[in-house]
Amino acid sequence: MIRRRPDLDDLDREIRDHIERETEDNLARGMSPDEARAAAVRKFGNVTRVKEDVRGVWIPGWLDRLRQDARDAARQVRRSPAFSLAIVVTLTLGIGLTTAIYSVVNTVLLKPLTYPHPDRMLWLTTQGKDPAHQVMNSIDFANWHSQATTLRHMIAYDYSDSTLVADGEAARIRIVSASDGFWQVTGAQPFLGALPEGQDTQVLVLTHRVFRDQFHADPNLIGRAVSVDGRQLTIGAVLPEDYEPQLIEHDWSMVRERVDAAAYRMMTLQPPPKVIGPTTQVRLYQAFGELKEGVSIEQARAEIEAFHAREQRQHPTGFGTSTAVVVPMRDRIVGPSRRALGVLLAAALVVLLITCANVANLLLSRASERRKEIALRMSVGSGPLRVVRQLLAESMGYAVLGGIGGVLLARWLVDVIVGLNATAVPRLTETTLDVGVMAVAAAISIGTALLFGVGPAIALCSTNVQETLKDGGRSVSASRRVLASGRAMVTLQVALTIVLLAGAGLMFKSVWQMTTYPQGFAPGKVLTMRIDFRGPQYREQQARHDLAASILAKAQGLPGIRDAAISTGRDSTMLVIREGDPIPQEDRESHAAPVSSISAGFPRLIGMSLASGRWFEEVEPSGSVLINQALARRDYSGVDPLGQRIRAPWIGPDRYATIVGVVSDLKYAEIDADTKPEVFFHHTDVSLFGVTLLMRVDGDPVAMAPGIRKQLSTIDPTQSFYDVQTMEAALAESIAPRRFNLLLLGTFALVAMVLAALGVYGVVAYSVAERTQEIGIRLALGAERARVVRMIVSQGMKSVLAGIAGGLVAAYAATRLIAGLLYGVGSHDAPTFALATLLLGVIAFIACAAPAMRAAFVDPVVALRAE
C-alpha cells in the first residue's frame, strides 16, 4: 500500500556493505568465515531497528504512527466487511441527513442575499394595529424618500402578471416595475442592450430565462417591439443569467406567492398629493432601501420612525395611524421559515446523535470479540494510549467513509428537498453544497468519530489483561461493562426517538386536520384556472362583464363539466359598516373583511352550505350580499343579519347593500388559518378585472384541463388562462411549508425509529450471544422456553422503558418549541404522545423478542457446546 522509497534500497545496500566490510576486517583478524560474519552482524546490532530508526529520521514520528494506525484500521475494516458496511451505512445516513439540512439552513439563513451590499438592505413598510397588515402607500413613500438621510437609495416596486404578445404568441409573464435606482441597488449589469433609467417606462428588460425560452436567445432582439397587456413596449436589455435579486411577495394578498420575475421595467412614482382627502389617489408599493455606508440599522430606524410619527400627527392620511417598520431585508425574506428550519436542523442533529449511539453500540458489541486481541497487544507492551489511538484511528476511518457517503447522500437529498416544493421555503432553490458545507460535513464526521469511538475505546482498554487472556476472551466483568454501556445507549436512542416521533406526530396531526375537508367538499374534483382581462378592448366595464359571462356560459356547456362558477378571489378588503354606524376612524382593521365577487353557483360548487336566508340568483338585483357565519358572529351578535344593510360605496355614493343570505364558514383559500369574516358580492355588481373559473368535473381534472382550456380560448385568443390546477393542489400549495416540515421531520423520525430498533436488537442479540451457555444450561435443566423468552425480553425492555420515560419528559419540553408550527393541535397533545409511545414500544418489543425467541429455541446440546 505504501510505496517503498528508493532511499530505503539505498540504506539496505549501505548496511549490507557495512557488514561485508566488517566481515572482511574480521577475516583479516583471523576469524573463520562463519565466525567473522556472525561477529559483524552482532556488532552492527538489530538491522530492522536501525532501518526503523533511520526511517524515523526521514518521516516525523507522528506521521509515521498515523500511517501505521491507518494501515491497522484499514486491515480491521477489511477483516469484517459486513460489520464495517453496517457502520458506514449508519454513519452515511446520519451525516447525510445532517449535511443536507445544514446546507439548506446555510443557504436560506446564513448566505448573504444577492445584492451588492446585502447587509445594508432594509425592508421598509408601515403597519397598523395588526402586525400582519403591512403596507407601504405612495404618500408615506414620498415622505420617506424626501426625508431619509440615512438611506443611500430607496426603491419602490410592484409586480403584475401580464400577457406578453410577441410574434403572435401570447404568454403570461410576471413583470416587476421598479423605481429609479433599482439597477444600482440590485447590482444589475446588462447582458445585452442598455438598462433604462428613470422615466423610461416604455422599455422592457428581459431576464435571461425569458430571453432563452421565449425568444430563442435571439441576439438581435434589442429594439424589437412587443405588446404587454395591449401596450407597445420596446425590448431594451437582457439581464445576465445569474441576476436574481430576492424580492418579496405582496404583503396584503391572501395567497402568498414567490416573486419570480420574468421581466422588469421602470415605474414612475406617484407624486405626493397637495391635499390629502377622501379622493386622494394612493398607490401601494413594495419598498426597500439601502443604508448609507457606516450607518447602522438602528440609526435608520430611529430616523424613519421619528419623521413618520411626526408626519402622522401633522398630516393624517385618513388610513388610520400606522407605525414605520424598518427591518433587515433578509429577516423579512427568511424570517418566517427560521423557526421551522431550526427545528429541522435540531431534528437532524438528534438523528446524528442516535446514529453515533448506534455505531458506538456496534463497536461495543464487537468489543467482546476483540477483547483478546487488545489484551494481547497490551501484554506485549502496547501502552493503553497506543491502543486507544489505534481504536480511534479505526473510528476515524469509519467516519471518513461515512462522511464521504454522507456528502454524496446529502447532494442527492438536497435535490430531493428542493424538488419537494421549491416555494415552501424562501431561497430554497439556491441551495448548493458549497465548500463551507463540506467543511461542516468534515467537522461533523470527525466529531461523530470522537463521539462514538471514545466510549468503546475506553471500555476496551480498561480490560484486565490477565483475566481476559486466561479465560479465552470471555471476561464476565468486561462483558457486563459492555452490556451496561450498550443498554445506556439504547435508553438514549429510545428517548431521542420518542422526541422525534412526538414532534413528527404533532406535525402530521396538524396537516391531517387541515386536509380533512367537510362532507361534500371534494377539491380534487374541482378544476380552477385564472384569467385576467387585458388589452384595450376591455377598457369598458361592459366588455369585461360580457367576457366573464360568456366564459361562464361556455364552461357550463362543455361536456364532462357538471357545474361551473366564477369568483374574483378575495382580492380586496372592505370596511363593513352597518347602516347608521359611523365610519370608524381608528382601528379600522377590526371592521374590515375580505371581499370576493362570485357567480350564483360558486358557494355550492365549493361545498358551502346555507346557514340562513337564500343563495344568489343567476340574475341578481343590484345591492345584494352574502356574508359568512364568522362575519355574522363578529358584527351581528344577537341580531338576525338577514335584511340588514351595509354601506356599499362601490355601487354609488350613499348606497347600501342588503344581506340576503348567511353561508357556512369554509376554508377554501388558505387552510392553515381560522376562517375569517367574509363578504360576497354578485359578480355583475362590481368591476371585474379578471376571474377565477371553477369547474366541478366528472373525470380526471388534470387530464381534462388542456382540452377545456383550448375550448375556452376560442372565446378570445388574445387572453390567456393561467394557474390551471385542481383546487386540491391550490389548497395544498397554501400549506406547502407545513407539508415540507412534516415530510422532513417524518423522515427523520422514521430513520430514528429504524436505528433505535436496530440498536435494541443489537444489544439484546449481544446479551443473548454472551449467555448462550447459560441459556443452554437453563433449558437442559428443564426451564420453560417461555420463561427464557420472558427473561430476555424483560431485560431488554427495561432499558427501552427507561428511554421512553426519559423521552416523554424531553418531548414535553421540546414540542413547546414547535407550537408555532402546529395547527389545530396542542403541543402536548396526549393522543399523539401515546401513539408515539405505543409505536416505538411495539417496535422495540419486536426487536427484543426476535433474538429472545431464537435463543429459546436453540438446541441445549448445541448451546452447551458453544465454546
Partner: protein, 117 residues
C-alpha cells in the same frame, strides 16, 4: 519511557559530535566512520555500529553533513559522508561547549573529592 528517551538523546548528542569530529580530516564511508570512532575512543565507547546510521541521516537532515556516491579503495561503490560548511562551524561550537562542560565536570569532581576526604 521518558528515561529511555533521555538516554537515547544523550547518546545521540555525543555520537553526533563524534561523527562530525571524525569527518573533520575528510570524507569517509559508514564503516570507516564506525571504525575510526571505536579506535580513537580506545574502545571505551563501544556503540552498536548500526546506531551510526540513524545519526548520519539525522545530521544530513540538519544540513551538517552531506552524502555523495563514490568509489572506495578497492573499487567498490559506497556512500561517502563529508562535513558541510555549516557542519564545520557546528563542530567548532560543539567542541568548545564540550570542552567547557568537560572542564566544569572535572572541576566539580575534584572539589567534591577534596571535600569528602
Amino acid at each position: 519511557m521518558s528515561t529511555r528517551e533521555a538516554r537515547i538523546e544523550l547518546l545521540q548528542g555525543t555520537l553526533d559530535l563524534l561523527i562530525l569530529r571524525t569527518l573533520q580530516p575528510g570524507p569517509a564511508h559508514g564503516h570507516a566512520i564506525a571504525k575510526t570512532i571505536e579506535r580513537s575512543s580506545e574502545d571505551v565507547l563501544t556503540v552498536e555500529q548500526g546506531s551510526l546510521y540513524p545519526a548520519l541521516h539525522r545530521l544530513i537532515k540538519r544540513g551538517l553533513i552531506a552524502a555523495d556516491e563514490g568509489t572506495s579503495e578497492n573499487n567498490r561503490r559506497a556512500k561517502f559522508y563529508r562535513l558541510t560548511a555549516k557542519g564545520r562551524k557546528q563542530l567548532t561550537v560543539e567542541t568548545g561547549k564540550w570542552d567547557r562542560m568537560a572542564g566544569a565536570i572535572a572541576r566539580i569532581l575534584r572539589t567534591s573529592t577534596v571535600r569528602s576526604s
